[in-house]
Symmetry: C2
């Protein structure tokens, strides 16, 4: 094995000095991500401009046995993009071109370093939409969204990022380029290799390019906030809406009372209904014309109120009113400023059990930490529950809170990560959602595609 | 290695004599599938009744180094279920229980040997639908549909089988059971292993159980047959319909004139329009009420006619009329009886290029075999083109026709198999759609999950 200095000299020679920053020259923002993991300075930060440069870099790292940590927008919440000491941090930020938008086939080809928002805007420019949206859209990059199989607000209608990916270009640890970019919606020719890299958090290879599916843009949208008496009513209302607007319900965000109260307090908003209610659901539905859609929504919400599934409802009559209703849900952006700090969970459960899970979780937290502040909210339509607890209200016992919550998740047969991934942060709890046989099969695939264990080592699972 | 007779004795002892048929006792229908591949009698046919029995069988085969070919409904068109000499044919037909249907979370748990039709019926019984449908529904089994990532008529709206699979139970070559059945729509906990087995045609393991996603059942449906002047008009009409009925367009089946003529002749049907037209598209759209939906469809087809995208249209006014329109498309069932025999293609292409591909393909066929009978049709919305040529009109030169067509597919950057898979039949052409690096990565995954190469050997690719 060559020394670090020989490796770095070879790196600069292969890629050019302007692509490589070493040691103290690496900007500190590349030392960690939004997960709050302790910063780790990498040996070097490399920012290539093409797939060929990524391939040359990986070939060199492979020859010198230097590990590589791919970095996108660094907005991940599980720590997958935190560098490893002695390794290269590979930032895709200079590969940010939207290379092609094809409105007729509703596809878009993009380099991995483009932001999610750039993809959204390119789709809107041709009268279509990208099916994925989440709060970090302005920073999160396509490669990271693919590598974490990101979720967000559009999952109910269009699925996670996996369902938007028609093709990928990936560079393997030894520099091999896999050009899985054929622009076909259907391609049953051998194993669908690209699936392996979606959600692999950079442990199997580096995503350099994606061919994404775009979706039709509804001409009109209606938004409503609905007050609900209990969790089962929420599920009944959801089923009613799915039946009435098949394929057109784009959001059904459920908020427990604790979340609504915190949101109103943090943002100094007014109570949306005359009285407080145990739950509220924020609903978006797409259609052909504003007025007709609002009428249809009013009709179905009226039926829901008669059936006892809803107790009050506000239908936005303008875009401004819709934004005001969404503001209540967007208190998630206020979590870091108002909890000290927040302990965040992103779990998924069999849909029917979510209400009982939340109840039992809250009871268990209250039994141990009376007076704790915890807020429950989630994309109930796809079984995803978020929970944030203010660490300062549980004596800073973050580890104990995690153990309690993940034990409940395991007892309910749920998943410890619905959409954020495993990274470093959830590694200790992966066994709560996967059997030893599954973990062994994952390790076998890792071994097959990265036999020297150079790709993002120590993330997802240990070898 | 033990002898065959020792292996067979151990097999009968482990599973019981009623699970095992040997040599001449194996019913001939298990010697091949619908692909027309020459029959191969297996060493034995085993029909287990549980996952535990499948696991015991594979453990035993592993110990004795006996290869295993999984068999579902034997309706595959690429030969993936054809036994190998000296190997076990593993039929899932006795594992056909629908184990659970959960209308609230819109999921269904089923054993791999249940038919696609049984799943469809179980979904309808709770007011939902299964998003997958194709002609062989009454025989094709869930395990086969998963293992070939089947397509069919519902792909435009709901995607291929992959997008319906929330969980799988799979038995690996060494008998290990992977219970990837957690009923969650979102589960980002490590690699999404189940994806490896979807479309792997039984070469990585045996699918024994699936957790499937169900879809809302539209209250109303409208069907229309539309005459089109050219291919680009078809794409424009498709985009118009997608924009007008986002998420609700469930079929857009394009038929070239040669297909329509053959269909009318074979089934003694009347010309659907006053004059023949170069193309016709069969359209299904879902909605809330029959009358409103027909009105909306009439309006948008009127717009399309004004824009020159359509030249004539018939909207079904009853279920019987809808069936009559579909009858023209269902001439595919008549192919085997009317072509001698049919040489079938299932390719996919960049959507915008399909018209030109068909034109050039037909011209090349006509140049070499003047007077050949070929019919073109497909699920254009997802880029999938089918083509069948009557072998008796090309001097029985099946191999030459395949070479010609697959060379065109490669030249257009298309896929040699959109939905039928590779099996035995398309193995020689896999390289037209996959690079050597991709094939090497597939082999690495095969090696990782089935190091002794016992699962369906010789299918998809050679090792």
């Amino acid at each position: 094995m060559a020394t670090y200095s020989e490796f770095l000299a070879a790196l600069v020679e292969a890629l050019g000095a302007d692509r490589v920053q070493v040691g103290d020259a690496v900007p500190p923002r590349h030392h960690t991500d939004w997960s709050g993991t302790a910063p780790v300075p990498p040996l070097a930060l490399v920012r290539p401009r093409s797939t060929e440069e990524v391939s040359a870099l990986l070939l060199l790292c492979h020859a010198h046995r230097v590990p590589v940590v791919p970095q996108g927008g660094l907005t991940g919440l599980a720590g997958a993009a935190v560098p490893c000491a002695g390794g290269v941090a590979l930032s895709l930020e200079r590969m940010n071109a939207i290379e092609a938008v094809d409105a007729r086939s509703a596809t878009l080809t993009v380099q991995a370093g483009a932001t999610v928002q750039a993809v959204q805007e390119a789709a809107l420019a041709v009268g279509l939409q990208f099916g994925v949206d989440f709060g970090a859209r302005g920073s999160a990059q396509v490669g990271g969204a693919v590598s974490t199989n990101a979720g967000g607000n559009g999952v109910l209608q269009y699925g996670m990022v996996r369902e938007q990916v028609l093709g990928l270009e990936v560079v393997l640890a030894d520099g091999t380029v896999l050009p899985m970019l054929r622009p076909m919606l259907k391609n049953n020719t051998g194993y669908d290799l690209k699936q392996c890299f979606i959600g692999a958090e950079g442990t199997l290879g580096v995503v350099t390019r994606a061919l994404l599916r775009l979706r039709p843009l509804p001409r009109a949208k209606a938004t409503a906030l609905v007050a609900l008496p209990d969790f089962d009513a929420a599920l009944a209302l959801l089923a009613r809406l799915q039946g009435r607007f098949p394929g057109a319900l784009s959001a059904f965000e459920l908020m427990w009372r604790d979340f609504i109260e915190a949101s109103l307090r943090w943002q100094t908003l007014r109570e949306p209904f005359e009285a407080p209610h145990p739950f509220a659901a924020l609903i978006d539905v797409g259609g052909q014309d504003e007025a007709g859609l609002r009428d249809a929504l009013e009709e179905v919400l009226g039926e829901a109120m008669e059936a006892g599934e809803a107790v009050d409802a506000a239908i936005a009559q303008s875009e401004a009113q819709a934004r005001a209703l969404w503001k209540i849900r967007e208190a998630t952006a206020e979590l870091p400023a108002n909890m000290h700090p927040p302990i965040n969970f992103d779990v998924s459960l069999p849909q029917a059990d979510i209400g009982r899970f939340a109840q039992e979780c809250r009871a268990a937290l209250s039994a141990r930490w009376p007076g704790h502040l915890s807020v429950f909210f989630g994309h109930i339509g796809d079984g995803n529950l978020h929970l944030s607890t203010d660490a300062s209200t549980v004596n800073g016992e973050e580890g104990a809170v995690e153990e309690l919550v993940y034990a409940q998740v395991a007892a309910f047969g749920g998943s410890v990560s619905a959409e954020h991934g495993i990274g470093l942060h959830k590694k200790p709890y992966l066994g709560a959602s996967r059997t030893p046989a599954e973990l062994a099969a994952m390790r076998a695939i890792k071994q097959a595609l990265d036999p020297l264990h150079l790709m993002n080592p120590g993330k997802v699972f240990d070898l």
